[in-house]
């Protein structure tokens, strides 16, 4: 290839700098995961380098560990239910925020993003206090209940839904909806037939991120779980309190595989990188 002289050297240098920077950033993100995965296969109980040998025994031990299995199942249930509720609330909210005209639109928009900004510990404590007060006031069993835990996780999902669905709505060509209306579709039909398909990638991405955020949430959940009800991240933390063997690494690897599979699966249906 011939390149105009004078251009070529600075261009090539620029490209090298860019690629190096990108490579370093990627390594910085991936390195901890690489170590966790590596550690999961160590044979010895106390993690030390270099490994004394490799083994799959930590993986084999997981199905036998009741706390991990029930933790996984609870996290899965909570994440699925909370994400569904979050979408049911968040999608209409996003539509109204973008299409509606009302005073304080920006304020509401920012309020809905708050759960993402407030630290999980603070959020959890606030919810716990609220649950205590609510239980005293109503007499219903709220503290440490499944419903209470789900209600908290709904909060985690809503900012994702609002943000991502809002973005897809803003990016959507509004005249397409007008075209549908001029062709005879009322507002509801227009939403179902035109708007919803257009923002579906945003909704799926929101569901995925909400799910992942809920599934991995530790700080807030610590306040909301009750006796005999432990999510997977809490089970991991509790295990770590008196053991540091590679079981944790093995559980983490499974968790990564699970979430990675969920991402790949959704990416087959919608191109997530288009909306995020």
């Amino acid at each position: 290839m011939t390149v105009a002289p004078g251009w070529s050297s600075s261009r090539v240098a620029g490209r090298i700098v860019l690629k190096t920077a990108a490579g370093l950033s990627l390594a910085y993100i991936l390195l901890p995961m690489v170590f966790v995965i590596w550690l999961a296969f160590f044979a010895q109980e106390i993690p030390s380098f270099p490994p004394e040998g490799y083994s799959l025994k930590w993986f084999r031990a997981i199905p036998g560990n009741d706390r991990f299995v029930s933790g996984f199942l609870l996290s899965l249930q909570v994440a699925v239910v909370a994400t569904s509720i979050g979408l049911t609330i968040g999608v209409p909210a996003a539509v109204y925020l973008v299409r509606g005209r009302f005073a304080g639109r920006e304020v509401v928009n920012n309020l809905l993003l708050l759960p993402l900004i407030v630290p999980g510990i603070v959020l959890g404590l606030a919810l716990y206090v609220f649950h205590v007060e609510a239980e005293i006031a109503t007499g219903w069993p709220i503290i440490g209940s499944f419903g209470g835990l789900v209600a908290g996780h709904v909060l985690i999902g809503i900012p994702w839904t609002v943000r991502l669905v809002t973005a897809s709505l803003v990016g959507m060509d509004h005249t397409v909806e007008e075209a549908a209306q001029s062709l005879g579709a009322n507002r509801l039909t227009t939403f179902w037939r035109i708007t919803l398909p257009a923002i579906l990638p945003g909704i799926v991405a929101a569901a995925l991120f909400g799910f992942v955020a809920s599934f991995g949430n530790l700080e807030m959940s610590l306040y909301l779980v009750g006796p005999g009800r432990t999510t997977l991240p809490i089970a991991i933390l509790q295990y770590l309190e008196w053991k540091i063997d590679p079981t944790i690494a093995a559980v983490s690897v499974l968790q990564m595989l699970f979430i990675g599979a969920a991402m790949l699966l959704t990416d087959r249906f919608v191109n997530i990188s288009r909306v995020v």
Binding site: D173, T175, V176, E178, A179, A180, Q181, S182, L183, G184, A185, N186, T189, R193, I194, P197, A198
Partner: protein, 350 residues
């Protein structure tokens, strides 16, 4: 198809009058073009007809119906957008079927209507494609088929050609016009492109600052512009500022005395069409007005040449001459003699 009547449409956005007392009467089968610069109120007017803008006052009648209070989906108006606004997740045939579906037409009756609509716009083989697999011109035709298939009472075109390249635009103008005539569609088109407006319209409406400035045929607007804005916007004009100094006598700010057909006394502008000014050669017949000036700029456009001629320190006019091989063109800086008949200049009193 039906007659469309707008009566006293006014639309305020805050303090701004986007449309100011707009009244129109579009006959059955007529092709009316709303022409004007951006922000003149033409799109607002079209959106009032479509039902997307609720006017602050005034009414819209379509045929026998008063549609002023109806939502867009009950108006039975076919709309083609500048961006085409095709449904990206539906095939061409599904896009065209949408309007029929909304009207609860049985599936069996839909198929022939879709085929016919696609044949009308010469896309009958592309029914299974998705919009993004089509060229701009093809998308435009799908939008047209989609707006026509359900037999709308009125066809509304919002700058439908401005996203097409120049060559294609010329073909599509003729195509749309022929289709509209064949189907006898009452049509309102919005455009800022005067050439497009002149080619396609039965009748034109020139708008500016929310108000209708003139309604008329191509000849009306070009030969008898009602005001300075129209003379400037439709076709080209060189303007000379000055004052009327009695009947038939215009004195420019730079001191030129021009014979014209205006009357009255007072400040005025004189509009001159470049192609009606002549370059006077030695053997040319005398004209009512004749001035000499220096050529300051030349635009060579192939079949024609524009000369920008300085008549006085305050006045410069454009003279458009035909480019003939036997004629030698003046050079920049050369003194030339130009002239025009007194009927050429149009006077706008201010």
């Amino acid at each position: 198809m039906a007659r469309l009547q707008l009566t006293g449409i006014t639309k305020f956005y805050g303090d701004v009058r986007a449309a100011d007392d707009v009244s129109l009467d579009v006959a059955h089968g007529e092709f009316l073009v709303l022409l004007g610069p951006s922000g003149c109120g033409k799109t607002t007017t079209l959106r009032v007809v479509a039902g997307f803008v609720e006017p602050s006052s005034g009414s819209v009648h379509l045929g026998e119906r008063d549609i002023s209070a109806l939502p867009p989906w009950r108006r039975n108006a076919g709309l083609v957008f500048q961006s085409y606004a095709l449904f990206p997740h539906m095939t061409v045939a599904e896009n065209v079927a949408f309007g029929l579906e909304m009207r609860k037409i049985p599936k069996a009756e839909m198929a022939p209507k879709i085929t016919e609509a696609l044949r009308l716009v010469r896309l009958d083989r592309l029914g299974d494609r998705l919009p993004r697999q089509l060229s701009g011109g093809q998308q435009q035709r799908v939008a047209l088929a989609r707006a026509l298939v359900f037999r709308p009472d009125v066809l509304l075109l919002d700058e439908p050609l401005s996203n097409l390249d120049a060559k294609l635009r010329q073909d599509v103008r003729v195509e749309i016009r022929e289709l509209q005539r064949k189907l006898g569609l009452t049509t309102v088109m919005v455009t800022h492109d005067q050439e497009e407006a002149l080619i396609m319209a039965d009748r034109l409406v020139v708008m500016n600052e929310g108000r209708i400035r003139q309604i008329g045929s191509q000849q009306d607007l070009y030969e008898r512009p009602a005001e300075k804005f129209v003379a400037d916007f439709v076709g080209r004009s060189s303007f000379i500022d000055g004052r009327m100094d009695g009947s038939g006598r215009f004195v420019s700010a730079g001191g030129l005395v021009v014979a014209c057909e205006g009357s009255g006394v007072g400040n005025a502008s004189l509009a001159l069409r470049p192609e009606r000014l002549a370059l006077m050669t030695a053997d040319a017949p005398a004209m009512d007005n004749s001035f000499s000036g220096a050529v300051e700029f030349i635009s060579y456009l192939g079949s024609q040449v524009d000369l920008h001629v300085r008549l006085s320190p305050k006045e410069r006019v454009i003279v458009q001459i035909q480019n003939r091989p036997e004629q030698s063109l003046p050079a920049i800086g050369e003194q030339v003699q130009i002239g025009w008949r007194k009927s050429t200049g149009r006077v706008f009193q201010s």
